[in-house]
Amino acid sequence: MVSTAPFETVYQRPESLTDFPTHYCPGCTHGIAHRLIAEVLDEMGLRENTIGVAPVGCAVFAYNYFDCDFVEAAHGRAPAMATGIKRVLPDRTVFTYQGDGDLASIGMAEIIHAAARGENITVIFINNAIYGMTGGQMAPTTLPGQKTTSSPNGRDVEQMGFPIRMAEILCTLDGAGYVVRRSLHDPKNIRLAKKAIRLAFEAQQRGLGFSLVELLSTCPTNWGMTPLESLHWVEQHMVPFYPLEDFKVSPTLAGLRVR
């Protein structure tokens, strides 16, 4: 028997997300991160108030997917560009969306100093341990022994140096109000990631200074794995190296309950 009760919408595209066809590879978690940000902007009623800053890397076209004002930065410079915008428009919500090459390699100075200044912006940091857009080269976050096209025999830390744990570095700076790491490898962690993104934007709303959510993410194409294998790889290899913790949470946020 067919129910005649009206349909209830239980899932739909967030207003802050456009219906632009994705350019991301199958199984890549950029799409999940985008959706979480869009849901948070919707829930906080921030879409019209928000200016996003896109990076260079796979998310270079991030501006196509968010239905808010956007600018596109040079490689690594998104925090500087966001600083310029936020200083002129302090009542707007400004966020950057950056990958590991962008944020932890070429943009190291810009991210450190944005955090040190307590720049009241939100940074969503996608750590997938590889350069995606250029085709799978070693990133500053590539794990020891991990094979990439520029570390074909695996990352030899004696010769190529060690991976950088950005959240742990940034949380030491007095200007940071909220610095946490989450992962996108399963539904539970995705829910936790969304809460963290919400708190990061809440931190900005409250003027608590620099906020950053590092998201462990997949790159099945350049890791040479199926989407499912890559989710397992995050859990088995990345999470042990990059612990999912709250590194710094401003006391103002501590009691805040979010969905």
């Binding site: 019209e48 200016i51 596109e72 500087a80 560009m81 915008i85 200083r87 707007r92 100093h113």
Partner: protein, 377 residues
């Protein structure tokens, strides 16, 4: 406004503020630092944005972000710092947002020194950042002109959605002269229809320099070139002195042009038919004016505080019609008027070599002087 005794760097800073500057981002570097320091004091007093960046790379990208909001924004630096800004300048050009930059040029290459130089001509006029774009470049020769050109820079930047660079050699930044500042310009209440300020009650806007489809990029390149042609037609600026009947014409910009003027005035009063062309807009360059000179004068002498970087543009305009000679000082050294006077007197009495290489001839002449100076030490 009354005339005041003003230092060039401070005068340019205050002129920018009075022109409606709403945000300044910079990094300390000699001989430009007083400009940044003036901004640090004055901008917060006025409730406007001042921020000392962690580097020139960051400073220009902060400027880029602020420019996307449709306000008047600038940075200032000196040669090595401007080299670091080239990445950002290219992005700003590609995004077509108005930005003003003041370059107080010092001796180079490399760390060089902090003395006045014009060694950034090629970096500023002909290049720097990647891709096809041209900044408007204005070169003052006095503190008053530095003030006036700084104000003009903001108007031109907005009019053409272009980068405007005031290229002042270190002496313009450092010296004090009586000058008059403009009145305070009111800040705008409305912003351009491309400005990214939040999509409140309108469709979203995107500002970017990326055009991934080459066909789209070529359309943008064409638009930039069309705008550049328009700038070339409307914005060529120069000052001329005694050109009407001049046989010898000195071409020099900024301080080199000003020093040459002293020598030209003295020689002219002695009956030598010599004049001066002082380009103010180095970009767009006064090619047509120099072509006109090449059709009437007998010799051109280019004088610069570099190895002859503008010389190549003069040669391009003259196209071999008359001999062109060169006299330059480099490395932070400034020419004295008597050096230019000696060159004028030489040209007035000698027949110039028609097909000579002006740079090599200068090196030969000047090398003798330089070695002579050394042997006297």
């Amino acid at each position: 406004m009354p005339r005041e005794l003003l230092k060039g760097n401070v005068a340019m800073a205050e002129a920018a503020i009075r022109a409606g500057l709403q945000a300044y981002f910079g990094y300390p570097i000699t001989p430009q630092t007083e400009l940044l320091e003036w901004m640090a004091k004055r901008m917060p007093e006025l409730g406007r944005t001042f921020l000392q960046a962690e580097s020139e790379v960051a400073a220009i990208n902060m400027v880029y972000g602020a420019a996307c909001t449709g306000i008047r924004v600038m940075s200032s630096s000196s040669s090595p710092g401007v080299s670091l800004m080239m990445e950002g300048l290219s992005y700003i050009a590609g995004t077509e947002v108005p930005v003003v930059l003041i370059d107080v040029v010092r001796g180079g290459p490399g760390l060089g020194n902090i003395a006045p130089s014009q060694g950034d001509y090629n970096q500023i006029v002909h290049g720097g950042g990647h891709g096809d774009y041209h900044p408007i470049v204005l070169a003052p020769a006095s503190v008053q002109e530095a003030i006036d050109l700084t104000v003009l820079a903001f108007d031109l930047a907005e009019k053409y959605r272009s980068i405007v660079i005031v290229m002042a050699d270190g002496s313009i930044g450092q010296m004090m002269e009586p000058a008059e500042l403009p009145p305070m310009h009111p800040l705008p209440k409305e912003y351009p229809d491309w400005a990214v300020r939040g999509a409140i009650g309108r469709d979203r806007r995107i500002l970017s320099s990326i055009y991934i489809d080459p066909q789209d990029e070529e359309v943008v390149n064409f638009r930039l070139m069309e705008r550049w042609n328009e700038i070339g037609e409307n914005e060529v600026r120069y000052r001329e002195y005694f050109l009407e009947d001049a046989d010898i014409v000195i071409v020099g910009f900024g301080t080199a042009g000003r020093v040459a003027l002293s020598a030209v005035r003295a020689a002219h009063s002695q009956g030598i038919r010599v004049g001066l062309l002082r380009p103010i807009s180095l970009s767009p360059f006064p090619y047509a004016k120099i072509e006109d000179i090449a059709n009437r004068a007998k010799t051109i002498l280019v004088t610069e505080m570099n190895s002859g970087q503008m010389l190549d543009d003069v040669l391009r305009a003259v196209r071999g019609r008359i001999p062109v000679e060169f006299y330059g000082r480099m490395g932070g050294m400034m020419p004295f008027p008597d050096e230019i006077t000696a060159e004028i007197q030489r040209l007035a009495t000698q027949t110039p070599v028609p097909d000579g290489d002006p740079r090599k001839q200068w090196m030969e002449r000047f090398g003798i002087t330089l070695h002579g100076l050394k042997s006297n030490n």
